[in-house]
């Protein structure tokens, strides 16, 4: 369970977030939908404690990020916008490294590693250095590394961005599975298909503000449109929609 209240953040003269409030519940996939530069990544970075809000508060399972960032981080699994892998290490070593840092050791850890190698179909490449991996393979390694400690809350920043069909399907399957296990999944995207395919609840963000929220159906009713894309454009306005080429 993630609660975000009234987040504000200024970068220089630009007000990046102006009072963002949303929440994500267990057993639900929550989507942050918005054009590039809307404040999605900034919000996520504040939840995992690497950026400090000028104002506002964040709790994860009741733990406050500002006062106890490590307890929050222990409850989170994060796929940041960059996979950030080590070229000379293998997928197995990547997963083991982060498992160790979360306090997992021994057989218990090896069991978790095997599980994620199976889940994301990494078996054939599990012991090869990741240097030559494709974008899809790298994302899968980063995802299994983020999930090895079985976190209750999962943050995914544009997880399917630039992935091929097979990798996208694999990632979607993982997300659905996490929801079935009763976990809280929060992910950001600017791709309409992703959001409509996966999300139970959507927060539409633009220019650092939450413009609307609800289930996909509720958003359609709210805007009186028939497709989610039209609903989105009518919410964020034509300029923001037009500046965002990837939307179509």
């Amino acid at each position: 369970m993630i609660r975000v209240e009234n987040l504000c953040k200024r970068f220089g003269t630009k007000q990046a977030l102006q009072g963002v409030t949303f929440s994500a519940s267990d057993g639900t996939v929550t989507g942050l939908l918005g054009p590039n530069g809307a404040g999605k990544t900034t919000s996520l970075r504040m939840i995992y404690g690497l950026m400090k809000p000028d104002d506002g508060s964040i709790t994860v399972d009741g733990c406050d990020v500002a006062s106890d960032p490590q307890s929050v981080q222990a409850r989170l699994g994060v796929l940041p916008d960059q996979s950030g892998l080590y070229g000379r290490l293998t997928p197995r070593e990547h997963i083991r490294y982060f498992g160790n840092l979360h306090g997992l050791t021994g057989l218990d850890l090896e069991r978790h590693i095997e599980k994620w190698i199976d889940n994301l179909d990494l078996k054939s490449i599990a012991d090869r250095p990741v240097a030559g991996f494709s974008h899809g393979e790298r994302t899968k390694v980063a995802l299994s590394r983020a999930l090895v400690h079985e976190p209750q809350n999962i943050l995914l920043d544009e997880p399917t961005n630039g992935l091929d069909v097979m990798s996208t399907r694999a990632v979607r399957a993982v997300i659905r599975n996490l929801r079935a296990e009763g976990r809280c999944v929060l992910f950001s995207s600017h791709v309409m298909q992703e959001v409509s395919a996966l999300c139970d609840r959507i927060f539409v963000i633009a220019s650092g503000q939450v413009l609307a929220q609800g289930t996909p159906k509720e958003l359609l009713e709210l805007t009186g449109r028939t497709t989610l894309e039209d609903a989105f454009v009518s919410l964020v306005g034509p300029e923001a929609g037009a500046s965002n080429g990837e939307l179509s």
């Binding site: 970075r45 690497l50 950026m51 490590q70 996979s83 950030g84 892998l85 080590y86 982060f98 840092l101």
Partner: protein
């Protein structure tokens, strides 16, 4: 307090770093370069000294001065040959290293007790000639003195009249100390090994981590920043230690294979001395990687970081230079300055002196404190948004 993450991070950085073959080779080459240089330098020097023990003197106009030639031939390790007719060209072409030229009027001038001119042709830029030339010049001076004394005696004058001074130079330096000044350069190479040994890991685990975009995922783990930086520091420290150990081992082997007695120095790097040297110099391996990690944390890329850390060689090299001009060890304040302190301990140990336990401990504590400060500073940098996200 859970210290495990430090070990986890150090292990990962080491196995990651040591898989980078090219940087390992670079590290080993730089670690072994110094000892090799020392070996060739000293080897050259000893072989030159031994070369001067047996000299061949080409003499042009050998028939003009039988007295001198006979006298030379009687000296041990001297062989006199008939020299080339064109001494200048012979030396220039390298056919002869030096040529002694005796003029036709020698016998006449010699008999009338006039200074008889002899010429010595050589090329002073040729390093190998110098010791032989010194030996020959020494022999000619002795001939001068002997004949001069004989001439005075014949005239009823004591030769002592011509020698108002008798100079007795007494060198108080032990042969170990002489060896130490010769081997000061060993310490410089040990310091350089401390710099190059940990540099790869120090830069790759900080600036490299930023460049790859892997710093952000790493920092999301529930591990305090100071532990993350400490783990990286520990890995760099171990790597620097390996570099220093390789250098020390190579120096050890090189010195054992050199006939140092020929240089008039007795030097023996005994096992206790090596242990003491390690104890005195190892604080460098703690301190320098911490500074490198701090500097590299500012850099956005691996290359940028390397250009910062390479700059560290300059002040350290400067300290090495200072200590060749000033005798470091007898100034107590110098032992308070990091690097300079280790340098002066090292000089003492090589000279057979034992630095006080108090001074060694103080040097160690100082180095650990400096390391802790820079690790803490780097940990603070890793908490700032500009460093984590600024790319």
């Amino acid at each position: 307090m859970n210290w495990v993450p430090i070990a986890v991070i150090a292990r990962k950085e080491l196995s990651d770093g040591f898989r980078d073959r090219r940087s390992i080779y670079t590290m080993l080459v730089t670690a072994l370069f110094g000892p090799l240089l020392i070996f060739f330098m000293l080897n050259q020097q000893t072989s030159q000294t031994t070369a001067a023990k047996e000299i061949r003197i080409p003499v042009a106009g050998i028939d003009f001065a039988p007295v001198l030639v006979n006298w030379l031939q009687q000296q041990p390790g001297v062989e006199v040959l008939a020299g080339p007719t064109d001494p200048e060209a012979a030396v220039r072409d390298g056919r002869a290293e030096m040529v002694l030229v005796i003029k036709q009027g020698f016998a006449d001038q010699f008999c009338h007790s006039k200074p008889a001119t002899v010429q010595l042709f050589s090329d002073s830029t040729r390093k190998t000639t110098a010791p032989k030339l010194r030996r020959l010049a020494g022999l000619l001076n002795r001939f001068n003195e002997e004949i001069g004394a004989a001439r005075l005696t014949v005239r009823g004058v004591s030769p002592d009249v011509a020698n108002p001074l008798r100079i007795e130079a007494i060198d108080l330096a032990s042969s170990q100390q002489r060896a130490a000044t010769l081997l000061d350069i060993v310490l410089l190479f040990l310091i350089i090994a401390a710099i190059t040994g940990g540099m790869q890991i120090a830069t790759d685990s900080t600036a490299g981590e930023r460049e790859r975009g892997s710093l952000e995922p790493l920092l999301i783990n529930p591990v305090p920043r100071w532990q993350i930086v400490s783990g990286k520091w520990l890995a760099a420290v171990l790597s620097a230690s390996v570099g220093m150990a390789a250098t020390l081992a190579a120096i050890f082997i090189a010195l054992r294979r050199l006939p140092l007695e020929d240089l008039g120095v007795r030097f023996y790097l005994s096992a206790p001395k090596v242990v003491l040297l390690i104890a005195a110099m190892s604080p460098l391996a703690l301190m320098i990687p911490a500074i490198q990690i701090y500097l590299s944390s500012f850099a956005k890329s691996f290359k940028e970081a390397q250009s910062y850390t390479v700059l560290l060689v300059l002040p350290v090299g400067f300290i090495g230079l200072i200590s060749t001009f000033y005798p470091v060890t007898d100034r107590p304040w110098m032992q308070a300055i990091p690097v300079l302190a280790q340098y002066s301990f090292g000089t003492d140990i090589l000279a057979g002196k034992r630095p006080s336990l108090l001074a060694l401990t103080a040097g160690g504590i100082e180095a650990v404190t400096i390391a802790a400060i820079f690790v803490w500073l780097a940990a603070r940098l890793f908490s700032t948004e500009e460093i984590i996200f600024g790319r």
